[in-house]
């Protein structure tokens, strides 16, 4: 072989090595479970060692509530679940919007149910505190699920008793059924009557309300039928029934306890704001003492910092 041929041989060998390395490299990484799947595993195996962080309406301090930018920010912060609100437009699209109308959060006007997707897309979202326009559009459920796919889970609000079918259709189409936690206030019989076996195909997290005098049976009926692995637990006082259920029946069963640190009446005053003003132990720490496995917050960055400092954000703690 002359030099020229050696060069070609060299190139061929180099090419083989590189492509082989590529294949081996891929195999070495294997078909890894995505972060979203691992988050789901954490939710299904509630522990006191990894506290799940759920960010309310995305990180609305950083970007407009319910916007893709607010979701991306949560992904960047390492949040586990984002709670978002969805409503159905006049022409049948689910869009991320908290209020009935678009008035507060966009530069447009009107009820979501009386606007088309095209009309809503022409509006721009405002920042928090009503501070002008952000350039961000109202996202559809489909856009949200494509953004979060593999990265983070979503807790769907406002869809509970009306739009589960429409939402499920989008989740199936985008391959994200395992990314979405539905929630709701209705009892299990109402949900069964309305949605039948669809309830077995979705992840459903019922809400336990202190105002419900029958909340114990409400919980038991869910246990007997759907057997959810998580409950959103709301307690206006320390003596409220849902907190008692969480600390006794749910704990014994190993079901997850989500505490809502947003406002006084949802968590016996142990709010995010209290955490900032009086120290995190007085609020988030107290919720952990009650046995909360997940906290919904308006302060995701600060909460993650607090939990990390306590060694409660060891994401790999499941992999044993």
């Amino acid at each position: 072989m002359d030099t020229h041929q050696y060069k070609i041989m060299g190139l061929v060998i180099w090419f083989l090595v590189v492509s082989l390395h590529g294949v081996v490299g891929q195999e070495a990484h294997g078909p890894e479970t995505s972060r979203a799947e691992q988050i789901l595993q954490h939710l299904k195996n509630p522990s006191e060692d990894y506290i799940v962080v759920i960010s309310h309406r995305g990180d609305w301090r950083y970007a407009p509530e319910n916007s893709l930018m607010a979701i991306q920010r949560c992904i960047d912060l390492g949040v586990d679940v984002i709670e978002l609100d969805f409503r159905l437009t006049k022409d049948g699209h689910l869009v991320a919007m908290h209020d009935y109308t678009v008035d507060r959060t966009t530069n447009g006007k009107g009820k979501v149910s009386e606007l088309t997707l095209e009309e809503i897309k022409s509006f721009r979202l405002k920042n928090a505190a009503g501070v002008r326009y952000s350039g961000q559009q109202v996202p559809t459920l489909e856009e949200v699920m494509l953004l979060v796919k593999g990265k983070i889970m979503v807790n769907l609000d406002k869809t509970e008793s009306k739009w589960v079918r429409e939402a499920y259709e989008v989740l199936q189409r985008t391959g994200t059924v395992g990314h979405a936690i539905f929630k709701g206030n209705d009892d299990v019989k109402t949900m069964r009557d309305k949605y039948g076996s669809l309830m077995d195909s979705i992840i459903y997290m019922p809400k336990l309300w202190p105002e419900n005098p029958d909340v114990k049976n409400f919980h038991q009926d869910y246990e007997d039928d759907l057997d959810p692995f998580y409950y959103e637990t709301i307690f206006d006082t320390e003596d409220a029934e849902p907190l008692y259920i969480a600390k006794t029946i749910m704990k014994k069963k190993g079901d997850g306890f989500l505490a809502i640190a947003l406002w006084d009446e949802l968590c016996a005053g142990r709010t995010d704001e209290k955490a900032l003003l009086e120290g995190p132990d007085s609020a988030w720490g107290w919720l952990l003492e009650q046995g909360a496995n997940a906290i919904m917050t308006d302060r995701p960055e600060e909460l993650i910092g607090y939990l990390s400092g306590k060694g409660l954000r060891n994401f790999d703690s499941l992999k044993e």
Binding site: H98, A128, L276, P280, E302, G309
Partner: protein
């Protein structure tokens, strides 16, 4: 990661600390709150004022619109304190007068959007306003209260420059509070009016506080207004509204600074800065380059943290 945890913990401690101070302060006792500074080397107010008066140096002054409204209710004491802790140079706050003559911080004509109450500030009493809670950015009530101008200036005193918006028509009363709190030298007042009018209406204050004219660059008389100020009394700064970044007057900014006035442009909304706004910068901070390229040395922003990080990376902010 450790560093991140440390910083977050420190800021939580800082915030917790502030509250303790505020609780002490509530007993109607005019004790100055002891501020827990997160910045190891806080810049003194004298340095901030010197930087404000110096239009030639390369340090850029960061002005936070309505305080740190993302992390505390807009125009609250906590929103001001957060700015101080963040290293913001100047906080923009809005002042209004109640029916019974109390000066309070409030942006809107009514209290509806930002508090748990309803009605026009000018038709409500201070006693009623004290019963209200401020709302957060998504409209939920918080433990924070409407501050008086006096409380706000006490927090700012010796710590941070102040831009007092909506104060022009009630300036005699505002000035009394500035004198009482000893903050006259930290406050900037602004107005979109020509020199002759300012001289007539505001003349007695011109050598006591900083007055900053606002000039819209698409105003046909813009050049005339600027020249009049430069000839009669060079202001500490001009605020320019720059609807398109092709306006030729932008080319005069270096001249204006050479003559002794700083150049203030808002990064808030695209119509202020030819489309080089905070929201674009949140996605790509290099958008702020436009301000540097055009000799702008004061920027009012809704993204103080991102802007400060950007400027510090260029050694243009201490």
């Amino acid at each position: 990661m450790k560093k991140y945890i440390f910083i977050t913990t420190m800021s939580l401690l800082g915030l917790a600390g502030c509250r303790e101070n505020k609780v002490q302060e509530q007993g109607n006792d005019p004790v100055e709150p002891q501020v827990v500074q997160s910045d190891a080397n806080p810049v003194s107010i004298d340095e901030l004022i010197a930087n404000l008066e110096d239009s030639h140096n390369d340090q850029v002054i960061v002005v936070a619109h309505r305080g740190d409204w993302r992390n505390a209710p807009e125009n609250s004491l906590q929103a001001i304190q957060n700015c101080i802790d963040m290293g913001v140079d100047m906080v923009e706050i809005d002042v209004r007068q109640t029916k019974d003559g109390q000066l309070v911080l409030m942006h809107d004509v009514t209290v509806d959007r930002t508090t748990t109450g309803t009605g026009k500030v000018s038709e409500l009493t201070w006693e009623y306003l004290q019963s209200l809670q401020l709302r957060d950015g998504i409209g939920h009530s918080t433990p924070h209260k409407i501050p008086t101008l006096e409380e706000a200036l006490e927090v700012c005193k010796g710590k941070i420059l102040v831009n007092l918006d909506k104060s022009y028509d009630i300036f005699d009363k505002c000035y009394e509070v500035m004198e009482k709190t000893g903050t006259q030298n930290q406050v900037v007042i602004k107005g979109g009016i020509p020199y002759s009018q300012v001289k007539e209406e505001f003349g007695s204050y011109l050598d006591k506080v900083f007055f900053m004219p606002i000039v819209r660059l698409n105003d046909p008389k813009a050049k005339q207004h600027i020249d009049e100020y430069l000839e009669q009394a060079i202001p500490v700064a001009f605020e320019f509204t720059v609807p398109q970044d092709t306006i030729s007057l932008i080319g005069d900014f270096d001249d204006i600074r050479e003559k002794g006035a700083s150049v203030w442009v808002n990064s808030l909304w695209p119509q202020h800065n030819g489309g080089n706004d905070d929201e674009k910068a949140a996605l790509d901070p290099s958008v702020y380059e436009w301000f540097l390229e055009n000799n702008i040395d004061m920027i009012q922003t809704d993204r103080p943290q991102i802007l400060i990080d950007f400027l510090r990376s260029k050694n243009l902010h201490r």
